[in-house]
Amino acid sequence: MSHDANNLEDEITAMLLERLARFSTRATGLHPQADLARDLNLDSVNMMELLMELEDHYDVSIPLNTMADVSTIADLADRVRKVVETRS
């Protein structure tokens, strides 16, 4: 990844960590490798809400069907970065 891509992914990761803080528990903690469903217990509605917020923040469209292999916060940050870069 280029320096710019790294910066963008770091920015997205930081935003995700902030928005997902309310889902973290003492047992799982909150870190980029946390699994959205298994560790943070995000359900399908939580996931949809999060995606809508990301779409609005970056003014992009992130189809739900592209989320099938997204498990962790880091996966999601990587996916969003690629969508944002494609738009740019």
């Binding site: 995606l51 809508m52 992130i62 189809p63 739900l64 069907n65």
Partner: protein
Amino acid sequence: MSISERFAELAHVRDMLAAVEADPSRIVMQKILSPTEAVIEGRPTILVGTNNYLGLTFEPEILDAACAAVREQGSGTTGSRMANGSYFSHARLEEDFAAFYDMPSAMVFSTGYQTNLGLLMGLVRPGDTVLLDAHSHACLFDGCQASGADFSVFRHNDPEDLRKRLRRLGDKARETLVIAEGLYSMLGDIAPLAELCAVAKEFGAWFMVDEAHSFGVYGEKGRGLCEEVGILDQVDFITGTFSKSLASLGGFCVSRHPEMRLLRYGSRPYVFTASSSPANIAAASAALRVIRARPELKTKLWENAQRLHDGLSALGCEIASPVSPVIAVRVPAPEAGARAWNALLENGVYVNLVVPPAAPEGASLLRCSLSAGHSPEQIDRVIAAFAQVRSEAGAGAAQGAL
């Protein structure tokens, strides 16, 4: 993820529900007494969670039609219409729906779920784009997923949010399929269909409405919310189910586009499923005749809805939406919801317990669906049961349970 892990995951869900005594699979209707009453756990129970909006499941004219169809056509069709050919009754019911809506094309499917799955899998493919309301029913999400199209959601009942997301799609907005429902089944709220349709048309998008819970309930002739708000000539596809107001099992799609009928050649949930049984088709057909002939059923349904809404409001219940045939009482937490749901059952009232994510916005709901078949006395007994459960919860808990 292995199959063993999957079994363990599902067992965990069952155990979680059992722990709060909220497993819906334990509800067995031991005897069905009428469209609005059954024996559950040995008790005669008023049913306020059946979606039997017009109360037609024991209507003599419908029962006679279904029984006659079994005698004349047999117990099943034993296959797909594209393989075995069509029974005359299926073809005639499609003509009836097309005539009812004054539209050139109609198709019937084997269930309501398969109707939306069949329409979406037939209409859109990988590379196509769909925008659907965030509160859409699972079958709409599943249809989108199975189609391979790119799909995203817009904020519930928010035409401006739809506009923003269509604008974001650029040139793709023009062929995008926008999907909304008429009456949303969990919160009991209705969509601003005219506004959503106008936004979709502004971008040249297609507009589809699922009237599963609004068919027979809204519109002068009972054709749904599209009729009520005057957009029947603009909406591109309307779907509905037989398993609510039509008191049967199956589903339909109508369209102002004659080409919709071509989906017979390319909709896998239509091609690769046995068509509905003759009894189901005959019952839906007879129920459609009843809806056309007896508009007073709709009036009775709305009177019942108003009576329950007024009664629960007077108790101080937090109801999710203005009056509609779905009245959802918000409960602060799933555990409190389960306690109240069980207490209502013990008081002879069956409602639907809905917990997240099926209940949107993080709420838990005690969901009531009204029927034209409810008597005013039954509605009053339901209100009295809620009052009883509220007073017990108030005495025993720091927070009101509902």
